[in-house]
Each structure stands twice: as structure tokens, then as C-alpha cells.
């Protein structure tokens, strides 16, 4: 088995490259959300 394979995802093997890509994507989304949330006026819907 390939050493870079660390987990299985829905029956498919998840390579370390895939892990890196997905973690990077999460980081980009979180940084963008954090940055824009700091503007302080991004709150609209607060439930009913």
C-alpha cells in the first residue's frame, strides 16, 4: 500500500496530496471568512 495513503473516504483512499489540498481549501475559506467578518456589519439573519 502506498505510504502516503492515510485514510479512506467513502471507500476511496485519500492520499496525502488530497489531504493537503483539502486542508488548504479549508484554510482559504476560513481566512476569507475571518477577514470579512471583521468588518463588523456582516450580520443579517439571526434566526427568527
Amino acid at each position: 500500500m502506498n505510504e502516503s495513503v492515510v485514510e479512506k473516504e467513502h471507500g476511496e483512499e485519500l492520499s496525502s496530496w488530497r489531504w493537503t489540498y483539502r486542508l488548504l481549501r479549508v484554510t482559504v475559506m476560513l481566512v476569507a471568512a475571518y477577514w470579512l467578518s471583521r468588518t463588523g456589519d456582516a450580520f443579517f439573519y439571526q434566526g427568527f
Binding site: K8, V26, A33, L36, A42, Q46, G47
Partner: protein, 388 residues
């Protein structure tokens, strides 16, 4: 007034502590109490609320639910409890009236815990226990069902059956499952704070511009609302997965809905299921018993109308929300009647062939999208004189 601020570090610190504290615990009872403790810690810190007062209300709800599970007194408790809940609901929705009644002190507390959702959960658990479907919750489960911190802001509304039937100790979360959960949270934050925010900044004027632009803004407003609202649900589902707490899905590509019945299978699914369980089906059954199963279409029409008018008023006690409920009721009634007529005319096979035609699907999707978008315009438009 304290609100749940998803951009606040406190929210995420509490979330991380909850995940760290609950994940390694495999003792069911301890896990339940730890979860209850985290929910109360959240209320005390994030919402800065009178936590002892909240605890006293929870104990009262717990005791009332225990009595509902017994034969004696349950009728009195059911009626009295429903009346009290409705009073609290009106107090929560109508702060102006509440101030005149001398109950204004309750409003910050009710608003902060998201009482609209707590109300729905209490009705659900009350109905299930009253009907004998499940046993009443113990004290820790009462806290966890009514005030799950990650579902307080905007749902989803878990059914009591789903809550009580979940494993007391979930199976351990694998690394990939944890990654998927974090991805879900990140997606929710991205939808809410980035995409929805940019749409609102670029295109939304609060319907202050009339003419052809308003037609465009109606579409952009629906898209913004979906991204913002479903973003909350993504975050709740992601946190739930990390903690091993079952959290129902709330959206399934609603913009692809081809009619209003399909739309409510895809939009705010947990509310739609609540309406079915607690309003539509009981009403339909009661009327069917009276008419001995005749006039099914008329019964469904009445049940759709009453259910969605009440659903509109649940969102807000005002004419725009009533109109929103009426538009959705009309959409559901027309869809149901059309479907009924089509089945009569074409038969089941004919309807299947009809549904497969691309042109009808696209047309249905377009009409449904517009109907929903304009129903949201009704509640977002700055009407004069309709404020509660």
C-alpha cells in the same frame, strides 16, 4: 441584547472545549451531563444570561414533561402548558405588547436563547410524550434537546424521536470524518461571511430602488438569504458531527425545486418536517376521521392552508409574514391540486413521462424560484405601517 455571534472567538473557544471534552468520553451518562454542562456554560458566557433563571425554566419544563408522560393530570398539563407556551411565544414575538403587559424583562432572555426554536422543540417533545411515542426526557436530556448551543442561532429543529433515538455514545470520529466536519463548518462560514456578504454589498439596496432593478434584486435577495441561512445550518451540522451529536440536514439545493411541495422537501427541511408532524398530519387525520376518508383533496387544501398560515405567523406576528405564509399555502395547494388532476388525466405512468420532460422541469423550476423569491420580497420590503 445578547445574540449568538459566529464571528466571536468565545463561540469557537466553547465549541473547541465541547469537542475536546466530549470526544474521549465513552460513558453514556457522563457524556450526557457534560453536554448539558457545555450548553449551560455557553448560555452563561456567550449570551451573558441569568443562567440560574434559565436552569429553573428547564427544571419546570422537565417536570411538566414527566407529568405529561403519566395518565393523571396530563390533560391539564398539556392544555395549560400549551397556553403558557403560546403566551411566551407572543411575548417573544411582540416586545411592544410585552412591555405593556409588564413582561418586558423576559424578552432579552427569550430572544437570546432563540425561543422561536425552543418553542417548536417543546411542542414536538410535548406531543410525542403525550401520545406515548417516547418516554419523557431526563433532566440532562431536557437541557440538551431544548438548548443545544450549536443549533440555537437558526436551527435546525431536531425531532424529539431523532434526538432520543441517537446512540448515547457515538462511534469515534475518524480523521476523514473530522476533516469533512471542519470542511462543512468552513463552507458555512464562507457562504455566510464571504459570498452572502459580497452579494449584499454589491447588489442589495433593501428594495429602495424601484423599476427593473427591483426584479434583479428580488433574485439576488433570495440567493443571499439562502447562502446566509444555509451557512448557519452548515456550521451547526459540522459542529454536531465533530461532537458526535446528531444534527439534521436543513437544505438540499432548494433552488432546483420544481414545485412548492418539492421546495419544502429541500428548504428549511427540519421546519417543514416539524409542520408535517405537528400541524399538517394531525389536522389531516382529524378531518379524515370526520369525513370518513372522503374529500381527500379538500382536506389537504385546508391542512396546507392552516399549517402555512401558522408557519408564517411563527416567523413573525405581522401582515407581511401572514402574506408570506398565504403565498406558500397557495403554492402548495395549487401544486397538490395540479398533481391530483394530472394523475387523474394521465395516470401514474403518464405523470412519470410528463415529469421527465426537460421543458416542464425547467419551467417548474423557474416558476418555483420566482414564487419563493417574491414571497421573500413580501417580508423584506420596507412596508410602512406593518411593523409589529
Amino acid at each position: 441584547m445578547p445574540t449568538i455571534d459566529l464571528a466571536s472567538p468565545v463561540f469557537w473557544i466553547i465549541t473547541l472545549i465541547a469537542v475536546a471534552v466530549m470526544t474521549p468520553v465513552t460513558h453514556a451518562e457522563l457524556r450526557k451531563w457534560l453536554w448539558a454542562g457545555m450548553n449551560l456554560v455557553f448560555i452563561a458566557t456567550m449570551l451573558q444570561l441569568r443562567v440560574l433563571e434559565v436552569a429553573a425554566y428547564l427544571v419546570a419544563a422537565y417536570l411538566a414533561l414527566r407529568v405529561l408522560g403519566c395518565r393523571e393530570w396530563r390533560e391539564v398539563v398539556a392544555r395549560g402548558g400549551l397556553f403558557l407556551l403560546l403566551c411566551l411565544f407572543v411575548i417573544n414575538k411582540m416586545p411592544g405588547w410585552s412591555a405593556n403587559w409588564g413582561t418586558g424583562d423576559l424578552n432579552p432572555l427569550l430572544a437570546a436563547v432563540g425561543f422561536s426554536y425552543v418553542f417548536l422543540r417543546l411542542v414536538d417533545v410535548g406531543r410525542v410524550v403525550y401520545e406515548g411515542g417516547r418516554p419523557p426526557p431526563d433532566l440532562a436530556s431536557t437541557v440538551n434537546y431544548l438548548l443545544p448551543f450549536h443549533m440555537l442561532a437558526a436551527g435546525p429543529i431536531q425531532s424529539y424521536e431523532d434526538f432520543i433515538d441517537q446512540p448515547t455514545v457515538p462511534k469515534p470520529v475518524t480523521a476523514v470524518e473530522a476533516l469533512e466536519a471542519v470542511e462543512r463548518i468552513a463552507l458555512g462560514l464562507f457562504k455566510k461571511f464571504v459570498v452572502a456578504y459580497i452579494i449584499s454589498k454589491l447588489f442589495l439596496t433593501g428594495f429602495s430602488v424601484s423599476g427593473p432593478y427591483m426584479l434583479f434584486e428580488v433574485q439576488a435577495h433570495y440567493l443571499w438569504f439562502y447562502l446566509d441561512f444555509s451557512g448557519y445550518s452548515d456550521i451547526a451540522v459540522g459542529i454536531g458531527r465533530l461532537m458526535g451529536v446528531r444534527t439534521p440536514e436543513n437544505f438540499d439545493k432548494p433552488y432546483l425545486a420544481r414545485n412548492m411541495i418539492d421546495f419544502w422537501d429541500r428548504w428549511h427541511i427540519s421546519l417543514s418536517l416539524w409542520v408535517r408532524r405537528n400541524l399538517f398530519i394531525p389536522m389531516q387525520l382529524a378531518m379524515a376521521r370526520r369525513t370518513r376518508g372522503r374529500r381527500a383533496l379538500l382536506i389537504a387544501t385546508v391542512a396546507f392552508t392552516v399549517s402555512f398560515l401558522l408557519c408564517g405567523l411563527w416567523h413573525g406576528i405581522s401582515w407581511p409574514y401572514f402574506a408570506w405564509g398565504a403565498m406558500h399555502a397557495l403554492g402548495l395547494v395549487v401544486t397538490n391540486s395540479y398533481r391530483h388532476g394530472l394523475t387523474k388525466r394521465l395516470g401514474t405512468k403518464g405523470v412519470k413521462a410528463y415529469k421527465e420532460k426537460l421543458v416542464y422541469r425547467l419551467l417548474g423550476q423557474f416558476i418555483t424560484f420566482q414564487w419563493v423569491a417574491f414571497s421573500l420580497l413580501v417580508i423584506a420590503y420596507p412596508w410602512k405601517g406593518f411593523e409589529p
